[in-house]
Amino acid sequence: MGSTITEKILAEHCGKKVVKAGEFVEPKVDIVLSNDVTAPLAIKEFRKIGTKKIFNRNRLVLVMDHFTPNKDILSAEHIKFVREFAKEQKIKHYYEGGNVGVEHVLLPEKGIIASGEVIIGADSHTCTYGALGAFSTGVGSTDVAAAMATGKIWLKVPNSIKFILKGKLGKWVSGKDIILYIIGLIGVDGALYNSMEFTGPLCKKLTMANRFTIANMAIEAGGKSGIFIPDEITEEYMAERRQKNYKFYTSDKDAKYIKTIEIDCSKILPQVSMPFLPSNTKAVKNIKKTYIDQVVIGSCTNGRIEDLRIAASIIKRGKKINSNIRTIIIPATPEVYSQALNEGLLKIFTDAGAIISAPTCGPCLGGHMGILASGEKCVSTTNRNFVGRMGHIKSQLFLASPAVAAASSIKGYIATPDMI
């Protein structure tokens, strides 16, 4: 019986030849991540252990991205607390202020994550790094505290579900549409506790940006991780960004999957997840005309340069943002911001009447920088549309790709790009 890529990565990090799904293991972790929401709790817990120094000052990454630029006094105090800890522990990767970006876009961009690694993060979207062929999963603050002391994590080796992606993507269809479609198909607990392994002929053609978007939302189907088998496209990305050695793993032909799902992606049309679950997915063309109040383009799901390029191409064609719509564009990192500036994308956005925000998670979790009032509707390229996610419990959030979000900002209702 062969092994999946996930079993192989975990076995290597446990110093074992083989580990199998269902086994409890305690692998070494390569990178431990926490942010301004989860790190204060993790640091408090770490202090209780009584260990003075963290296991490795180069392997803890602290990114102050959720409530920054500091939204209120309590948040500012939290961040000050984390900053002081980072200084005391001489943390190499502490990000705040001018170098901060949305963590799951920032870490791969900086080469902090390498293929074949084990990464844990006190942020549910830590599963994003599976796009590089790493085992990467979200945990809580206490897990991070324990890992800060020991450099290890307890886990159950997950079963894997194989998604074979086939066909050719239609115009304006992206990784976001694929993953929304999949979540609609299997439900918000369709991959509970499992690893979602994405494979098939279409995967080889997907850009890294699309792979990050797909792996990012594995958690919205309940997945422990999402993972792609690394290939030439991964190689190219890693070669450009790496700070360290990386290792490519692959699944054996006779590896065991609890389920295999084939998806003909040619059939996928631009998608939208209706309130209040990411699994309430429909093709945009099949919903009734829905007027909106706000559009958000950004986040760890869709705040990359590729996303902004698509949005800009549509907004440029439409010339002006609809006067009823507040459109908030959030380049995910300083690098994305500066690239968008150099390519003239920011000018297209501001000329059309959009707002450009500093890199932040901000509105995605209803933190700040774009909160909704009761009764308001928003099309967002983010990842969750639960009750009250972006503000008032009577507001509504519609999840979509940057292309659909951009088209909707021009039209004033949920629209597809071919309507522009």
Binding site: F24, P40, F67, G138, D189, L365, F386
Partner: protein, 162 residues
């Protein structure tokens, strides 16, 4: 292991109760359990905090605690006085966080199906037995591996590893 018995009134909910509903992000600028408890379940049941009594038990359907990694969610539930959560299934990060902070959780579809809101129930954690006092019925849940039960009884992961 010594016996661990929990008893309280049931607050029943449906599927996919998520971390945004358990503790909305607008309260995540604190880590104080007592403050978080004041807003527990606010976006799904604004009367929860008013109604909940020490020892009460939440019973819910599928995928309880889905969403964010925020440990503030089980912390808020525990600090609000809830002694245990029973569900058909738990989202995995919420599951970890609950074990790690010492909030007892149990999976039992038969219990979830039969138990009604406001029933008084009693849980024997070691044996995974749920007794509905109101209905005079008994349900089984799958007991967790012993090391997880020990973590819960120690009051959380860090107290356990110390």
């Amino acid at each position: 292991m010594s016996e661990m018995i929990l008893r309280g009134k049931v607050h029943k909910y449906g599927s996919n109760i998520n971390t945004d509903e358990i503790i909305p992000a607008r309260y995540l600028n604190t880590t104080e359990a007592a403050i978080l408890a004041k807003y527990c379940m606010e976006d799904i049941d604004k009367n929860f905090v008013k109604n909940v009594k020490q020892g009460d038990i939440i019973v819910a359907e599928n995928n309880f605690g889905c969403g964010s990694s925020r440990e503030h969610a089980p912390i808020a539930i525990k600090a609000a006085g809830v002694s245990a959560v029973i569900a058909n299934s738990f989202a995995r990060i919420f599951f970890r966080n609950s074990i790690n902070i010492g909030l007892p959780i149990l999976e039992s579809t038969e219990a979830v199906k039969a138990i009604n809101n406001s029933d008084i129930i009693e849980i024997n954690l070691n044996q995974g037995i749920i007794r509905d006092i109101t209905k005079n019925k008994i349900y089984k849940s799958q007991p967790f591996p012993e090391f997880m039960q020990e973590i819960i009884k120690s009051g959380g992961l860090l107290k356990y590893i110390k």
